[in-house]
Assembly symmetry: C2
Homo-oligomer: 311 residues x 2
């Protein structure tokens, strides 16, 4: 195999209560990538379609993730006498809050791993993809790259050592994600956070994280919904997102189990049971932004059980 | 049925990462109670053996819990023309940190519910038993009464509304609990807590809560062990418990999955896989306190799957 074409899924991180630890993988929102094994050593980004992103390997998240992986490969296994070319077809907008950089980082390391004969497991690949996230946001976080690589829901229990738990999604669970076309920098979304939180709020938050995990294992949709609350981050960040309260209220009134900020925003997600409800929520969310004359994109997706895949 | 004899189990609350939300039920440490249906209306505590506790109904946790339950029963169902006597045979020492008051509160409401023909589910009974906890500590917490009534592990996802999730314990999981015979008032254990915690610590804590819940559902003993960390409360409270660091280190060196403060202390628990390891940990913990000339009690118990039971 010399060339591989991939679907690199969008992801929703945080999921209300699970700030910095939880994420899920979407199924029909994502980028495409082609990874090609070539004689010339090194990593080259040869084409980017759909986004104005740097072609220089060291400035591109997929390039940085790929370099991290090849350096580890050469130090643990053997020197590599060949190289890789990467083509990226972006459909996820940068800054949307649904894991645009994570999709590219995850795709690069997944594709090269396939072309190397799978020396690494999908879970092993997370640490390399995280280096792309570090380039993108200054922080080597895993809450988007883990679900992009593993599918389903992922919990980053710990970073030191890295400990990621993958959890199957209940089959009828669907996500609706609306992306209002405003710019919200991750740095601004980070700057509104407070370094300290009340113990009382923190207790509510970890009660809800426990409830959400329990709901996923027991396929208890109502428990999942009851647990989708965020005591800590949403009150601070939601004011940066136009129409947030109305979008969330609309989602809940239309049958959503829960709703909140996707990643650091500005996208807003809702989870629901069954595609019909998810479609109905999408329609109702769309009307809100149409009434506000705010351009938006909207996705309805089941939870992707596999993560990045060969197409 | 006119009279019922009960085993009222001890419980371990908090479980390291799960401060105020998690608890588990022990199997061979607990009190006994006899609840008797009598013609005379009201609740009377007629005998307490093994502890110097008030016989006055309104000053006794089991009396207060029973009254809360009967008031609810009369308002939802029908007036009660008879009454109940309660005998308590205490084996769990007050202030030990393994749910002494919870065992009495849970036993009272469970026994009366049986004699009334089970109008309430075990989960329904939690709200009444919590009133006993309110008398004991000023705070109607559920993290001991929930496992005492439901068995296994329990998660208090929310208090408002009350939302309790019961989780089966992996079958090979055992607890070792050592109780150093010092007095540690719950109020003192509360007073060392800080009202605010760092967001960074809180994130680690809810990552671990998620990991522990995932470990319970998947019966992943190692994951359970990796998740038994407490970033927030243990560093503040452990200094109040003589020999804590050495006891914990000894437990881990002898094969414990994890170890921490039981409830608000001074008892220290360790979880392990299999009875042999739990016994070995008990032996090693005992040696630590013997070398310190500190009197102690020690329990080795599998996780009780049923909670309070008729004997």
């Amino acid at each position: 195999m010399k060339e591989i074409k991939l679907f690199c899924p969008a992801t929703i991180a945080n999921l209300s209560c699970g700030f910095d630890v939880l994420g899920l993988c979407l199924d029909n929102a994502g980028d495409e990538m082609i990874i090609r094994k070539v004689d010339q050593k090194g990593i080259r980004i040869t084409k980017i379609v759909g986004a104005d992103l740097p072609l220089e390997t060291e400035k591109n998240v997929s390039g940085v993730a790929a370099i991290a992986m090849l350096e580890a490969y050469e130090s643990h296994f053997e020197p590599i006498t060949f190289g890789f070319e990467i083509e990226i077809y972006k459909h996820i907008k940068a800054g949307s809050g649904i894991g645009s950089s994570a999709a590219s980082s995850a795709g690069a390391v997944f594709g090269i791993n396939e072309l190397l004969g799978k020396p690494y497991s999908r879970k092993d690949l997370v640490q390399f993809a995280m280096q792309g996230e570090k380039l993108a946001s200054g922080n080597a976080h895993a809450d988007n790259v883990a679900p992009a690589l593993l599918g389903g829901f992922t919990l980053v229990r710990s970073y030191s050592p890295l400990d990621i738990i993958r959890i199957d999604s209940p089959e009828e669970l669907f996500a609706t994600v609306v992306h209002p076309q405003i710019e919200l920098k991750t740095s601004d979304a980070r700057s509104v956070l407070k370094q300290n939180v009340s113990l009382k709020s923190a207790i509510m938050q970890w009660g809800n994280v426990g409830g959400l995990i329990a709901g996923l294992y027991t396929k208890d949709y109502d428990l999942i919904g009851r647990s989708l609350h965020d005591e800590i981050v949403e009150p601070l960040r939601s004011v940066l997102i136009p129409g947030f309260d109305l979008i969330k209220q609309t989602a809940l009134e239309n049958g959503a189990l829960g709703s909140g900020i996707s990643g650091s925003g500005p996208s807003i997600f809702a989870l629901s049971r069954g595609k019909n409800t998810a479609d109905q929520i999408a329609k109702a969310m769309s009307e809100v932004y149409e009434n506000m004359n705010l351009p938006y994109e909207i996705h309805v997706s089941k939870i992707n059980p596999n993560g990045v895949r060969i197409i």
